[in-house]
Structures are given as structure tokens and as C-alpha cells.
């Protein structure tokens, strides 16, 4: 089993990408700082955490397509590649949390809205800074695995299946759900209250995120274990 080689390869690639992302955020923060001096003192740089969440989602999507291909070409099975991927995500999520913390340290004095998601978590769940960081860690983990699962579903389906998945998914989210809220407001409110139970407390949210991660992880493995390797255009 070439777990170590796979883990190091994937971790190195992801850390490199996350550092570039952080570098971009530093540049953006500096640019906003400059603009706030020139144009309007109210201009602030924010949304860093949202940016990192998008980064983790995209990384998960890319991982499904790129990782097995580069591994199978080097005689490493999909199973080993996936196990190393599972070990890599928490490692990189932790690194991303650290990068966020450094960004906060660098710019918290000049940009009070830098990590409003963190502030929101701290206030909503009456938790400290470290507690909110742990929730963010779980969120990064979950969103990466969700990205992997989404990419896997699209990769394994045929063209008709992909179109159906996109159309049905879009229809449910954009049409059916709003329609349900309008047509059956009581049922929608009851459903909302039921779902809110899962995110009501710090503990329940943590458990829910962990469960979703496990579910995405298990389904992701089912999709990747027999997935054919396809060429990429260079």
C-alpha cells in the first residue's frame, strides 16, 4: 500500500493551493486597505471565510477527477488514493484554519468585517474563538467531501443522467422549495423548525456536520472505487 506517498502528494498539492489562495487574500486585503485610504474609509475587505469554503468545495470537486487518474497511472489503487484523501482533508482543513487565523491577526485592526462568519458562529452558539474555529474546521471538512461527492455523481453519470441531475436539482432548489414555502407555509415552518433543531446547539451542529461528512465520505467511496480513468486534455 502506497498510502504515505499518496498522502504526501495530495497534501502537498492542497497546501500549495491553499497558500496561493491565502496570498491572494493578503493582496486583496492590502488593495482594499489602499482603496479605503484613497476613496472611502468605509471600504472593508471581508468574506475571507466564504472564500475558503468555496476553495474547499472546488478542491473536493477537482479531487475526484484528478486524484485517481494521477494515482492509477503510478500503480496506486483508487482505494489507497481515497484513504489518503480522507487523511489529507482534516490536515489541510487545519492548515486552512491556521491561515485564516494568521489573516485575522494581520488585518483585524483595519478590517473589522474580515471574518464575519466566525463572529456569527461565536455569537449564535455562545462559543469562544477556538470553539468557532472547530465548527469552521468541520464545515471545511464537510464541504470538501460534499464537493467530492457532487463531482463523483456527475463523473459517473452519463450525459442524460448529468442533465437530469442538474435540472432536477435546480428545479427542487429554485422552484419546488420556494413553491412549497408559499403553498404550504405551515408545513414549511414545521420543517424549518425540525431542521433548526439540528443546528440549534453547538453540539448538535457539530454532530450533524460530522454525520454529513461521514455520509458524503461513504457515498464518495462508492462512486470512486470502480470509476474508470479518463484522459485529460493537455
Amino acid at each position: 500500500m502506497k498510502f504515505k506517498q499518496s498522502f504526501l502528494y495530495q497534501t502537498k498539492k492542497m497546501l500549495y493551493a491553499s497558500l496561493i489562495t491565502s496570498g491572494v487574500y493578503v493582496l486583496l486585503a492590502l488593495l482594499m486597505l489602499l482603496l479605503s485610504h484613497i476613496l472611502d474609509p468605509e471600504i472593508q475587505f471581508n468574506g475571507v471565510i466564504i472564500g475558503y469554503l468555496v476553495f474547499m468545495l472546488v478542491s473536493g470537486i477537482v479531487a475526484f477527477v484528478n486524484n485517481p487518474r494521477a494515482h492509477v497511472a503510478n500503480g496506486i489503487s483508487r482505494r489507497t488514493c481515497y484513504l489518503a484523501f480522507l487523511a489529507m482533508i482534516p490536515t489541510v482543513s487545519l492548515a486552512v484554519i491556521l491561515e485564516m487565523a494568521v489573516l485575522r491577526l494581520l488585518f483585524m485592526d483595519v478590517s473589522t468585517e474580515l471574518d464575519w462568519v466566525l463572529e456569527f458562529l461565536m455569537q449564535s452558539y455562545q462559543t469562544g474563538y477556538l470553539g468557532a474555529l472547530f465548527l469552521l474546521f468541520l464545515l471545511l471538512l464537510t464541504i470538501n467531501l460534499a464537493g467530492f461527492l457532487i463531482a463523483g455523481a456527475f463523473y459517473r453519470l452519463n450525459v442524460i443522467g448529468r442533465i437530469l441531475l442538474a435540472v432536477v436539482g435546480g428545479f427542487v432548489l429554485m422552484v419546488l422549495l420556494p413553491l412549497f414555502v408559499v403553498v404550504c407555509p405551515d408545513a414549511a415552518a414545521a420543517l424549518g423548525r425540525f431542521l433548526a433543531e439540528f443546528v440549534a446547539s453547538y453540539g448538535s451542529l457539530s454532530v450533524m456536520l460530522l454525520l454529513i461528512s461521514c455520509l458524503c465520505g461513504a457515498c464518495g467511496y462508492l462512486l470512486v472505487r470502480r470509476s474508470p480513468i479518463r484522459s485529460v486534455k493537455w
Binding site: K2, Y9, N66, A73, G75, I76, S77, V232, K233, W234
Partner: protein
């Protein structure tokens, strides 16, 4: 050592049967030519040996162990094909570092030496290379891995005559240094014929022929001479093909030549002619 055993291997894509119950044994330490027309199932077979795709049914074993999802077995196999597998943003030398991590036998020194001979720029990304140099990148990588089983699917795609010549030379030198199983799948049959020890021809997903090259060459011969004399000689013999130029004729005949009448010239049958005859519908 059992080599690679392929047992009742079938691969279906919707309504196409790419491989149909293939049984084949790839012996260790031999250079194989895997020949077949377009769509015969050559690439499908190689990709399955390399764990890139899975069979609909059947099994492939290397020394008794399944090749599918088996790190230990796959660590002894390296396959190149038209498929681009590595990260498009990595430079050649970085990809080699990654390959070296997975194949302990990979020699960076040898890879760089070959890159020098082929004038391959290892600081470029594969996507910045031409088709020919992409092929060179792949064959250099394959040769440098020192894997026990090297599968080369169309290894001369886009290579000019000079590079092809160099490739054949380096392939033989590599094999002489440490014999290994090399499977070459290509359409340029005559060029590789002299490298091969065993020939496997696949037709419509089935193994049509699996013989040592000497025996394949004995399957037929050519006779050249005046048209009337050649036609007279050919009567009662199984003709594989014929060519005419002016009053001269060359006939390709199945079987062994025996005694050749005066005025006619006999020669060994070339592999390509036999291949065309065997694989024509």
C-alpha cells in the same frame, strides 16, 4: 513466475463488446507485439491490465494475484497510452519526482539521460509540449520506471523517423540491461517487427493469434517473378495477397515455400502483410 494471465476477459460498452472472452498468457521477460485493427480491443486490454478500467467479466492475474485495485501488483506495471494522466500544471521533472516516489526502481539519472538524447525539455509542462514530445515524455517515463511489465500503447504516436529509431534503440538497450516484459501496441507493424519475440493479434475482441515471431514468419512467404510464372506457381496454393508492377508479380502465399522453381524469388513474409490478410474481414 506465471506472468500475466488473462482469463475469459470480456468488456462491454453499452451495445459494443470491445473484448469477448479473451484468454491469454503474457510470459515474463518477453517483448510482445499486440496488434489489431482500429477498435479491435488492444487499448481496452492494456487499460484493464493497468487497472484503469474494469472488465464486465473475467479476471486478470499477475503471478496469481488480481491486478485490480492491487497496489503491490500495479507497482510492477507501468502503462502509457494516449491518455494524459498527470496534472497538466506540473512540469516534467516534477512529474518524474512523483513517479519516482511510486516506483522505487525509477532512475532520475537515466530519465535525464534519455531526455537529453531526445532533446526533451524537462522544465516544460506536458501541455506545452508537441504531440511528439508528449509521446517522448511518456516513453522516457516508462523506460525509467524499470517496472517488470511495461505496456506501451501507441508509443510512436507523433514521433519523427529519427526519434522512432532512437526509441527502438533505447528500448532494446533497456531490455538488454534488465529483461522485462514489454507489450507494444502499434499500427506501424513493420518497424517493430524486428523487436518482437511474441505476436498477439486481436480481431473483433478475440485473440486471433498468439505465437512466437519465428513461427509467425513461417506462416507464409512471398514469391516474385514474371506474372505468368508466379500465377502458375500459385495455382493450388493459398494466396494471402498479391501485387503487380509492370509484368512482374509478387504473391504472398500461406505455408512454407519448399522448392522454388527457377526464375522465381522467394522471401520471408513480412508481418504487416500477414496481419492485413488475417485481419481483413
Amino acid at each position: 513466475m506465471n506472468g500475466i494471465e488473462i482469463v475469459q476477459l470480456t468488456k462491454e460498452y453499452k451495445d459494443i463488446r470491445a473484448l469477448d472472452g479473451v484468454n491469454l498468457t503474457i510470459q515474463p521477460g518477453k517483448i510482445y507485439g499486440l496488434l489489431g485493427r482500429n477498435g479491435a480491443g488492444k487499448s481496452t486490454l492494456l487499460h484493464m491490465i493497468a487497472n484503469r478500467i474494469f472488465p464486465t467479466s473475467g479476471e486478470i492475474r499477475l503471478d496469481g494475484e488480481s491486478v485490480f485495485e492491487n497496489d503491490r501488483v500495479q507497482g510492477r506495471i507501468y502503462c502509457i497510452s494516449e491518455m494524459n494522466c498527470y496534472d497538466a500544471d506540473d512540469k516534467v521533472y516534477k512529474i518524474w519526482n512523483w513517479v519516482q516516489n511510486c516506483y522505487p526502481g525509477f532512475s532520475m539519472e537515466y530519465a535525464n539521460q534519455l531526455a537529453g538524447k531526445f532533446e526533451l525539455n524537462t522544465k516544460k509542462k506536458p501541455r506545452q509540449l508537441s504531440t511528439g514530445y508528449n509521446t517522448i515524455f511518456k516513453i522516457v517515463t516508462a523506460l525509467a520506471t524499470d517496472a517488470d511489465y511495461i505496456l506501451l500503447d501507441e508509443p510512436i504516436l507523433g514521433l519523427d523517423a529519427n526519434h522512432r529509431e532512437l526509441f527502438y534503440k533505447e528500448l532494446l538497450a533497456n531490455y538488454a540491461e534488465r529483461p522485462k516484459t514489454i507489450i507494444i501496441s502499434t499500427h506501424i507493424i513493420e518497424e517493430i517487427a524486428d523487436l518482437l519475440e511474441q505476436v498477439v493479434i486481436i480481431k473483433e475482441g478475440k485473440v486471433l493469434l498468439d505465437l512466437p515471431i519465428e513461427e509467425v514468419r513461417k506462416m507464409g512467404y512471398s514469391v516474385t517473378g514474371k506474372k505468368s510464372e508466379v500465377e502458375q506457381y500459385c495455382s493450388g496454393r493459398t494466396l494471402l495477397g498479391e501485387e503487380e508492377l509492370g509484368g512482374m508479380k509478387t504473391a504472398y502465399i500461406q505455408g512454407e515455400p519448399g522448392e522454388i522453381p527457377a526464375g522465381l524469388e522467394a522471401a520471408a513474409l513480412d508481418l504487416q502483410k500477414l496481419f492485413i490478410r488475417l485481419t481483413n474481414s
